[in-house]
């Protein structure tokens, strides 16, 4: 039996009013890739934060390489060989990849306060060549894709002689191709004896990359599975504690023929070129493509969040001018952005205030005052119909789980009674259960006649929900797949149209 690298035993942690972890056991062997799964709030992040010294356990023991430890902080954990790459990347977008890579452990010229850039550059080039990542070391990090930024985080960990790498939802904003590259790197780390803890909601990926899966539910161990023999159903049953209907149930629904939206020759910054398509009443049009293909950018041009340089937008055959999101809302177009915390929610505000943010004009009395009564009614009705779990409508959205936050955002847009709903990564970073609910809501909306443009980097989501699929590549539409042509192969080949590279 291989010696154990990490052994966490009987870990418990209380927060005021919540038992976050209850006698959890968790171990990792050298060179092992362990999946850590559970719904949001199951305790995965808390466990990892205890490991890395962000929190201190109330009870239990951590044995690292045979010694009982309690790292006082992330830095000490890192020095011992434990590195966590958080879901929200911690980097400085204004600095270059080189600066980010060496942040906090810069190389100096001997006996001087000055940085030794040639040495750092040499080391960085070696590292990236080794990882097989072509990267420009001298542009601001913010110009690089999320995938590349993530690779830099990994490279950063490699600089510290890492023995255990924890990745929290590393693929949530990666495309399939980028994910494949990440997996190649993980496998290489593994072959060198580095262990990886892989936290993800994407079950197929977990099966693909891990050796063993540890499931948490409500802060307790809920079983362990061998990744090579277990089935998705077994895993889901352990995660949610009950059987769940087929996660991606293919809808059978006749899309209408009435054209609600027509986009012609839409072009605009940064690189959207001549995008044309039509959206029919009550249909779900999937918008697939790699990250950077221009899907979000197209949506932003459509709602006037960015200024288009060319092209026209027709609603039910009539050309409309949309110069701001306010115009879009007035025309019945709602856009659910990809990053709910940064772009959709006002975190310090209450569920009620967030939910009614785009419908103030429906709540006015005496021309200026918000009717609290109407506001409460609308909030309560959406909280009930979308089964949003909240303590009260006055709870700040910051305190909600990702899934419930996303439902608040969906409710906010449903309240505006849109004709057209653009969903940008509607299930990113939310747990399986919430995901299934979001899918159900989206399907029902389409049934009720709302036309939906669905942007998603998760192919199964696109495949199961869409009536037709539009595939973009480098700012242009590469293919429009009709219902009978929609398949993973067709989408990927169009998305990769420029060839890999």
């Amino acid at each position: 039996m291989a010696p154990t690298l990490l052994e966490m035993q009987g870990i418990s942690k209380h927060f005021p009013g919540v038992k976050a972890l209850d006698k959890v056991d968790f171990s990792v062997k050298p060179g092992e890739v362990v999946g850590l799964l559970g719904e949001n709030g199951a305790g995965k992040s808390t466990l990892m934060k205890i490991l890395s010294g962000v929190y201190r356990a109330d009870a239990g023991e951590i044995v690292w390489q045979g010694k009982t430890v309690a790292f006082p902080g992330i830095r000490e954990a890192q020095e011992a060989g434990v590195t966590i790459i958080f879901q929200e990347l911690n980097n400085c977008p204004n600095l270059t990849p080189l600066d980010n890579l060496f942040l906090g452990r810069e190389l100096h010229r001997p006996h001087s306060p000055f940085l030794h850039y040639p040495a750092m550059r040499k080391k960085a080039l070696e590292l990236f060549a080794h990882l097989g990542i072509p990267i420009d070391l001298d542009v601001p990090l913010s110009r690089l894709s999320t995938a590349l930024q993530q690779m830099i985080e990994i490279a950063k960990a490699l600089l510290t002689n890492v023995k255990l790498l924890v990745m929290d939802e590393p693929t949530s904003s990666l495309t399939e191709r980028e994910t494949a590259r990440l997996f190649t790197i993980i496998r290489e780390l593994k072959s060198k004896g580095v262990s990886v803890i892989f936290i993800s909601h994407k079950l197929n990926e977990v099966f693909e990359i891990t050796d063993r899966i540890v499931v948490l539910r409500d802060g307790q161990n809920a079983g362990e599975l061998d990744s090579h023999t277990a089935t998705t159903e077994q895993l889901i049953t352990r995660m949610v504690g009950r059987e769940l209907g087929a996660l991606y149930a293919r809808r059978a629904r006749a899309g209408g023929s009435e054209e609600v939206l027509r986009v012609e020759g839409l072009s605009g910054p940064p690189h959207v070129q001549d995008v044309s398509f039509a959206l029919r009443k009550g249909e779900i049009l999937g918008l697939a493509g790699l990250i950077g293909a221009g899907r979000t950018e197209t949506a932003r041009l459509l709602i006037g969040a960015a200024r288009k340089t060319r092209g026209s937008i027709l609603l039910s055959g009539k050309e409309v001018r949309i110069r701001s999101p306010a115009d879009a809302v007035a025309q019945g177009i709602a856009y659910l952005p990809e990053d709910r915390k940064v772009q959709a929610l006002i975190l310090p505000m209450s569920v009620r205030e967030n939910l009614t943010m785009s419908i103030h004009r429906m709540l006015l009395h005496l021309g200026a005052f918000i009717s609290r009564r109407k506001e409460n009614e609308i909030t309560d009705s959406y909280v009930a119909s979308l089964s949003i779990k909240i303590a009260s409508r006055e709870q700040t959205v910051n305190d909600l789980s990702g899934g419930n936050q996303q439902k608040v955002v969906i409710a906010k847009w449903l309240a505006s009674k849109p004709r057209i709903l653009i969903l940008d990564e509607p299930t990113r970073g939310i747990d399986v259960h919430a995901k299934a609910e979001v899918h159900r809501i989206v399907s029902e909306l389409a049934e009720s006649g709302v036309s939906i443009l669905l942007i998603s980097s998760e192919l199964p989501e696109i495949l199961s929900l869409s009536d037709r699929v539009l595939v973009m590549h480098e700012g242009r539409v590469k293919a429009l797949l009709e219902k009978d042509q929609v398949s993973q192969e067709n989408i990927m080949s169009a998305a990769l149209a420029g060839g890999p590279g």
């Binding site: 005021p16 709602i303 969040a305 701001s324 999101p325 306010a326 879009a328 809302v329 007035a330 856009y335 952005p337 940064v342 772009q343 959709a344 929610l345 006002i346 975190l347 310090p348 505000m349 205030e353 943010m357 785009s358 103030h360 004009r361 709540l363 006015l364 200026a368 005052f369 918000i370 303590a391 009260s392 006055e394 709870q395 305190d399 906010k412 505006s416």
Partner: protein
């Protein structure tokens, strides 16, 4: 958290839990200490004087609050006070009747606010820079037109607006109370107020929610200029003349009152009540130092300490769940 609350119950819970109650306690404490060291502090005539003094700062600070709630800042309020005051005095000097003069002078001030607002929300220049420029521009306009000389031909009928009293309280206090009530109602109960807080909480999300953020910001800078103008104009009646250096440094007092009152400079949180208490704390301390015969040089230093202390206390206070 209770789900059902009566209006009274809600008020009571809010009163006990709020940031405002903590600041209010601080105010009471400061007043007690001041009374201990300067026993004539709580005399009727002294309270009358400081309530009038505090009123001016409060009016300016309430306007400043609107801007700070969105994460912005208005450094030009002091200069705009001087400009509006000078404009009002000039108009009255040339024979315009006082109420028309007040109206026109407020318009002059709001025009400056509109310039700030357009540059900030449509040209997207940082508020700090724009209003710093306006601070210099407006004060330069005053100096240029007045050549540094005060205007002293103020009609007698205009003086009661600052020097008179109603029901035993100074009229500026009534003006401040009126401004405070209107501001409170606007911020708490109107869509405009909700959106102001929303912009401070997350400007991008507010924009993507279909709210015209630029138009709201423009109006906020005009509001800030309007209240500053109002204070500047009433000060003319207070001193029976319009001085070119009126309002100098008042932007700092206004910002300090807001910060002491628990307003976050990052935007999104703060209240009219907090600002009023903040203005009172500043006023009481200044007055107390005078009564205790502390030199005015040292007063400035002590006010500085109070401001930073308030920010530190706000930082270390336990976060509300």
């Amino acid at each position: 958290m209770e789900t059902k609350r009566t209006a009274g119950g809600r008020l009571l819970t809010a009163a006990v839990k709020s940031t405002e109650s903590a600041i209010f306690l601080a105010l009471v404490l400061i007043m007690a200490v001041t009374e201990f060291f300067a026993p004539n502090f709580l005399s009727g005539s002294n309270l009358y004087l400081i309530s009038r003094q505090i009123s001016f700062v409060a009016i300016v600070a309430i306007g400043e609050l609107f801007v700070i709630l969105t994460g912005g800042i208005d450094l030009s309020v002091g200069s705009v006070m001087a400009l509006a005051g000078m404009a009002a005095a000039y108009l009255m000097k040339v024979g315009v009747n006082p109420s028309a003069a007040v109206f026109l002078a407020v318009m002059v001030g709001m025009a400056m606010g509109a310039v700030n607002g357009v540059l900030i929300s449509y040209v997207k220049i940082a508020p700090f820079i724009v209003t710093l420029g306006m601070l210099s521009l407006a004060s330069g306009l005053v100096l240029g037109f007045s050549k540094g000389w005060p205007i002293t031909e103020i009609p007698k009928s205009f003086l009661p607006i600052a020097q008179g009293s109603f029901l035993g309280l100074p009229i500026p206090l009534w003006v401040a109370a009126f401004v405070a009530v209107v501001a409170h109602v606007v911020l708490r109960y109107t869509a405009f107020g909700r959106r102001t807080y929303a912009i401070g909480g997350n400007e991008q999300a507010t924009f993507l929610s279909g709210i015209n953020v630029s138009r709201i910001k423009l109006r906020l800078y005009m509001i800030s200029a309007a209240t500053a103008s109002l204070a500047g104009i009433i000060l003319v009646a207070r001193f029976n003349s319009a001085q070119a250096d009126t309002g100098k440094g008042w932007e700092l007092d206004a910002i300090a009152a807001a910060v002491i009152g628990g307003t976050s400079l990052a935007g999104g949180s703060g209240s009219v009540l907090g600002v009023l208490i903040g203005a009172c704390i500043m006023g009481v301390i200044k007055n107390g130092l005078v009564l205790m015969r502390v030199s005015s040089y040292w007063q400035t230093a002590i006010i500085g300490i109070i401001i930073v202390l308030a920010a530190v206390l706000d930082r270390v206070k336990p976060k509300r769940a």
